[in-house]
Symmetry: C2
Subunit: 194 residues, 2 copies
């Protein structure tokens, strides 16, 4: 839990990520994680006080591993609002499949566990800020479609790009990732661009 991770902590977090990514929605228990990390179940609690704390630490670990910040660079660098929107949709839509295992575990836990819910909401708030920036850039260019306020447009974009929607389209409706991405680009444009 310290900001600098011990070797064992790294092993635990790596094991967690591997299990969440491969399990494809399967429940991952503390004992599964312990076994995968090669230690006893109780030893996990010596490093992370609860399942929720472990999941939160794992998201940070995931960000570190995936370089989540760097992904947003193209979006920030975009000149026009339209470009910024497209770059943001692309960045986020491409990130979702990589974090899906994690997200799924969080969303399941958040159903009962307020701490998990808060941690997830916080991350989604960050994501919303990206949406907001894209919408603002559109508005600045005078390219934001009429009918929705900036706040409403932000919320709509944020909802459109939700993990649940990705899950519905790619998992339940078997869309390919490419199709999903293209549809999100097109949808965002139709909803928000004048």
């Amino acid at each position: 839990m310290s900001s600098t991770l011990s070797e064992t902590e790294t092993r635990i977090l790596d094991a967690t990520l591997v299990l969440l990514e491969n399990g494809d929605g399967e429940a991952v228990r503390m004992s599964d994680i312990a076994k995968a990390a090669g230690i006893s179940r109780q030893a996990v609690y010596l490093h992370f006080p609860s399942r929720t704390a472990l999941l939160i630490a794992a998201t940070h670990h995931l960000d570190r591993r995936k370089g989540s910040e760097a992904r947003l660079a193209p979006s920030r660098a975009a000149k026009s609002g339209r470009e910024r929107l497209a770059a943001y949709v692309e960045a986020w839509a491409t990130y979702i499949p990589e974090i899906y295992g994690m997200a799924k575990a969080f969303l399941a836990r958040a159903e009962k566990d307020t701490a998990a819910a808060e941690a997830w909401d916080e991350r989604m708030e960050d994501m919303r800020e990206g949406c907001e920036a894209a919408v603002r850039a559109l508005a600045r260019d005078g390219d934001l479609a009429d009918g929705f306020s900036e706040a409403e447009a932000t919320d709509l974009l944020w909802t459109l790009l939700s993990v649940r929607n990705w899950e519905l389209l790619t998992k339940t409706r078997s869309w390919s990732q490419e199709r999903y991405l293209a549809a999100m680009q097109e949808s965002a444009r139709r909803l928000l661009v004048r």
Copy 2:
């Protein structure tokens, strides 16, 4: 569980619906339901073999109470595809808040329980058929926007109108029901109508 309900079964189902509707997302245990129905927890199992079976029975009970079929009449009666789409969005968007408690319980359960997941998927399949009919009516009129196939348009509309999206906008982002409804009407039009 028989097609005709005993008095106790009716009391159990009514209690279930009341708890799910008022609890606003709170976990509803078998013991809560039993207490609300004025019987012992074990007695509930004399009528419904499992929590999942009880939830499924409760959805049918809810349909009966809310007259879910009648709601779709305006959509079916619509002359143009545009009207049909608007009527369908209105009917479904208005239904969601009434079934939300139920839906939430199902979705939470579906995370672990395949039977619950299947029951929910089945109901969402019905909902998708409504979307499909609206899209087909649009296409028939030549009013379906280019860029998406009928199947894709159906999936997009279905996703747009998902319970999770309603939850995100009205619960997390505090949109009023009216605002939600208006935004869905407008969004469906922008996404699908030429």
